[in-house]
Symmetry: C2
Subunit: 470 residues, 2 copies
């Protein structure tokens, strides 16, 4: 059985490894259009910062390790077209030749591509060594060269999502002054604005100039980069100048090959798949940043994340070799990012997302200690807890705290509870660990749950007044 996988990042390699694990007789070929199989794209900021000295360290596995699993990796090979009737994948080889690869099963793991925002002059700018996207290892290496060659002292970062914030930290760590532009009123659209505002203070304290509520309307790159900025509807504009500009405005699913082969699209324009990662085209599976994600609270959604890509890839690999019993169980949207000394994390839905999705959310904000105050080093964690007013179902948690406060694992505690369909009250029953230097007898999450329960009657009362005819 010949399994061909298009894409050599998280989903593609997870699928390849799983297929080989379950069926050592299958021949697995991974086709990727660059020279960086199984690299940790999420690690790029830490290469740019200088914390990872050598870009090759960003590989999850070396080519030798992949070979030891008998996985054939065809690098610098671009998949051009899927022939679904003849079961052939047409490719352009590193030499520029056209070649067909036969497959019995195919996994499409083409990932996502950066969104290029509608900024006048941006596409031209990307042809210079002053303006960059940061999505691939090749992008990162090009940016790194430019930073070195230009001796960049001032960077303009367009976008303040997860990657934008990591880049702002990375460049600051490197000694580059950063000015960051975000069209929305707050950074991190995916996080509750209350906590986003707290994170903005961390950026300011570390010297990043964050300019929110500001659109970049044009870009001119010559010996430096100049952006034209508009802040309101008045038509008044200002400008900002830097040595380089980096555009991090999100991603969209890369679906061209799949669409040409007749695959159906779903939420967010991503390839539709069922829970076995089947596209509906016989023998063709898809996984990772190019496909929809099943979300426990939202149903079908698009949420490209490395963790999900690994899980989906693993299931696609199993399904491709005929293991029918593995299914993607669905995510709850768990995410975390470290920004300097603060960590911000979420699972489930924010208050806004919950009401948009048709829930009746009630959200509290509370500040709690990460461990007993009497023991040195106690720090405050800010928690936003959202539950449904009518059912008391837990809908989401957002958290912000210093790196030392283990917010990155506290969010996982909430995620597991949420994935199990817990009520807010049931959080209080969780048997969580306690020792004074590291926790509190009622965990921070449980204190938040108690506060929510104490305050919910008022909210329910005001709700009943709203809906009451009198």
């Amino acid at each position: 059985m010949r399994l061909v996988i298009i894409g050599g990042s998280d989903a593609g390699i997870a699928g390849a490894l799983r297929a080989r694990e379950l069926d050592p007789s299958c021949e697995v070929t991974v086709v990727l259009d660059d020279a960086y199989p199984n690299f940790s794209i999420c690690g790029i900021p830490y290469y740019l910062s200088g914390e990872v000295a050598d870009w090759s360290k960003l590989a999850h596995r070396t080519l030798e390790e992949l070979s030891s699993h008998a996985i054939t990796v065809r690098m610098n090979t671009r998949a051009l077209a899927i022939d679904r009737s003849r079961h052939q994948l047409r490719c352009r080889t590193p030499d520029g030749d056209s070649q067909e690869l036969p497959w019995d099963r195919l996994i499409i793991a083409t990932g996502a591509t950066p969104v290029i925002p509608a900024v006048e002059g941006l596409r031209d700018g990307l042809q210079t060594d002053r303006v960059f996207l940061v999505h691939t290892i090749a992008d990162a290496r090009a940016l790194m060269s430019a930073l070195d060659i230009v001796g960049a002292a001032r960077a303009l970062v367009i976008g303040a999502g997860y990657i934008g914030l990591e880049l702002a930290e990375a460049l600051t760590t490197r000694g580059v002054n950063v000015t960051q532009f975000e069209a929305r009123e707050h950074l991190l659209a995916t996080i509750d604005p209350t906590l986003a505002a707290q994170l903005e203070a961390e950026l300011a304290a570390k010297g990043v100039e964050l300019v929110t509520g500001t659109r970049v309307s044009s870009l001119v790159a010559n010996d430096d980069v100049t952006l034209t900025l508009s802040r309101d509807q008045s038509g008044n504009t200002t400008t900002a100048t830097g040595d380089v500009a980096i555009v991090v405005a999100g991603v969209r699913p890369e679906t061209d090959l799949a669409v040409a082969a007749g695959a159906k699209l779903g939420h967010g324009g991503a390839i539709w798949v069922n829970r076995r990662m089947e596209t509906g085209i016989p023998g063709i599976f898809a996984a990772g940043d190019c496909v929809i994600t099943h979300h426990k609270l939202l149903g079908e959604s698009y949420l490209p994340l490395g963790t999900t890509a690994h899980k989906q890839g693993r299931i696609a690999g199993a399904a491709a070799v005929g293991k029918a019993d593995e299914e993607f169980r669905g995510v709850v949207g768990t995410q975390v990012v470290k920004v300097f000394d603060q960590v911000i994390a979420r699972t489930g839905l924010t208050e806004l997302e919950a009401s948009t999705a048709g829930f009746k959310p009630f959200t509290i904000t509370t500040n709690v200690d990460d461990h007993k105050r009497y023991y040195p080093g106690a720090r405050t964690i800010s928690i936003r807890l959202t539950g449904d007013v009518l059912t008391h179902r837990l809908l989401g948690i957002d958290m912000l705290g210093p790196t030392s406060s283990a917010v990155h694992k506290r969010i996982d505690v909430a995620a597991v509870a949420l994935q199990g369909g817990t009520s807010v009250g049931e959080l209080i029953d969780l048997d969580l660990a306690y020792t004074p230097p590291l926790g509190t007898p009622w965990d921070a999450l449980q204190i938040a749950a108690m506060e929510w329960l104490q305050r919910i009657p008022q909210r329910q009362e005001s709700l009943s007044r709203e809906v009451s005819p009198g």
Copy 2:
């Protein structure tokens, strides 16, 4: 309605607060036989170490805060007898008088008392200022004075459970040389021996001399303390001498009052209660270290812990004021302790406990990175994962890692999954947070689960050979 609570520690105060929260009309009186209501007993080691400069900081709440909840606290008042027919509690007041307190509902929260091991001369030693138990704030203050007065340079710690290890660290931090004796072959009987052995290396590295497999047979206290030690059955003995000796040999439930009132005892000689903390005697509830604990995997057990005492006290308080819908959902035995720079934690059952309880456990040990190796500061976490061979149900996790690796919250992630009745395979589906400086795309727990699943077929095969008649 008059609610009287015997005991002013975690369970007693949690019950008092919850009763007042739910029924502001009830009169709540807490009777305790010392002057330290609502103190964090778990904080004692950090007072002895000098990290908490003032013992009064160990209070979870001040007397004023308790008063602000309209809770009457009667300190230095010893409960002598419960009259269940006349609904009176006979007490000895601080003046030494006898007094009766009327009650409509009573919560027994008498806690636990230290086990005094059968060591010749120990009871006499406890009358001197050389030999100590460390169970109450008064004990801690007495030990602190003795350390100061004696100018203790060398302490002998008898016992290497949770408290014993925290004391060993505390005294070392204080500059006292510690020699620690444990009758069992390894420290922490509650933790898997593989990980216990790793923790022993941490003690050695920090200068604690740990002597395991060694019984203390006698103790003589004069100007110093001399212990007689026996290591084997030969009758040969050695001795050890120090300035002070501290005995931390575990606790037993304090049940005298309850037994005299006719309460039934259960597992471990603790007061039997149902999930509403009812003792079976009308109007009398009990909670905390004096009662049995409902364990999700073991059923009735005895497992005195502050976290459980808080939960049980809260439920007893609710039940006492007639809220019938709250029940104790049961624990999974989650525990954590920090010992110098290492954290050891557990949830569920160890391999030994699981087989004793009738499961067919299979356990793997694996060492995984706490975050992506390319990002600076990655450290190794050791995980023991136990699952049932037949059902694949997750039975327990033990973990050891440096303080920075968030083991204290990683164990909570496992605890929530375990409490939900997960299988080992379902751990792989958990939607956990990832960012390279703080985690891995497959979380450490998921990597352990994958390894367990990879190795289980061999175990099942050997099991089927064992049970096969041929």
